[in-house]
Symmetry: D2
Subunit: 133 residues, 4 copies
């Protein structure tokens, strides 16, 4: 069981969102942030650097927004739909762009794995968006 | 002149947004992140802690989103309206909530200053939103 | 298999450190950062807030340093002992302080789990320090 | 006056370090983080990408450690020499490596400015190290 899930299970107050779905989203965000950090570095180790530039930039953006979203989703008591909904939309859109770009280089195993992390994270953000009132 | 501005002035490619406005937004985001980090710590030093809890949580959220937004706005070449617009909206909404809450404690100088940083940042995000096509 | 591990396995260059140990450290750092983010929020939901203040501050510090260390350890090609060794020492010391404090509140399940994440992370940082030349 | 300085001036407790020096260090860390974020993106816009790879990696490391150090220095009440001293040493060493590399490309204005931010930040970290007991 992930630490995100263990921590949700011991939260001293009642959650107003499904704990399974929330923990899965936080885990997908952490995984995606880590995959994008590592993919940036792997991209920089490739020979055809000019082709990797777009991928590097999108991975950097994706790292930043996934890290922030994971933090904000972990602070449940001040949940504010006005801020959380557009943040999840921005995060899903960033994961989509980054996943699309990584998929263009899916012959490189690091980009294939990163694309997979981005796809899972995009889906998790959209599922949570659907569940949030 | 801020480093954000100096760096924009030496960017090797043409920007598709006004450099003054972009630099002012990045500076407002950095200022707001720093004010919120410091305000969290100052709030924790107050005696009436129970009244500060909401302020602390909103400051933590505001730090996370301002830091991410500053990073993403600094990566100009892969600007993507689908992701940048909702991120700026989420950031402005978070700054508004945090500024409103800090203003409730404006008799504490640290919350007054933090409210001011949040207001300036909210305005900068909205100005940039208005300017982005 | 974690994304940190999957990404290391596809790194385009040769690593000069054991991939199992490095992946385990990056995972422990991500877990600890997430546990500390969530513990900060859980602490803020407790009634005896005055007793939780030290724990909150140490969790915030631990989140910051674990996140930075995970990022830097994921960029292997420019590994620089002058910077990495003191960073791992600082990270291990921060995890120790935070774990000690969380253990004081081990009757609260969220602090018990966070203490566990801090202990594992401290050990992982020290193991990696021992392995790095 | 920077927000870091304004916030220090309103801190509800007594600081055990000189407020001018601390505010100057936090400002230098924020400036350096921002310069490194922007320099990463500017480097990625250059034609001779292969020569910029080391600079990009060091800028990413420098961003991560400066951001974390600014956060931790802003939380004064739980100041812990065992963690703060090696963190400042790691940060100064990272700023030095990054500044040295940026200086190699000082004919590019963005690297010249980033080198300057790294030098100032390294000095500020070393000054604070000297002042901390």
């Amino acid at each position: 069981m992930s630490y995100a899930r263990q921590m949700l299970d011991t939260y001293p107050r009642t959650l107003n969102v499904d704990a399974d779905m929330l923990a899965a989203t936080i885990d997908a965000l952490s995984d995606c942030a880590q995959a994008c950090i590592a993919d940036t570095d792997a991209d920089l180790s490739e020979d055809n650097l000019a082709e990797m530039v777009k991928c590097i930039r999108l991975c950097l953006n994706c790292t930043d927004i996934c890290t922030a979203t994971a933090g904000i989703l972990s602070r449940l008591a001040e949940y504010d739909a006005d801020a959380t909904r557009p943040l999840l939309e921005a995060c899903a859109a960033t994961c989509k762009s980054c996943g699309d770009e990584c998929e263009q280089h899916a012959h490189m195993p690091h980009c294939r794995i990163c694309a997979d992390a981005c796809r899972r994270c995009e889906r998790a953000c959209r599922d949570l968006l659907g569940a949030l009132k």
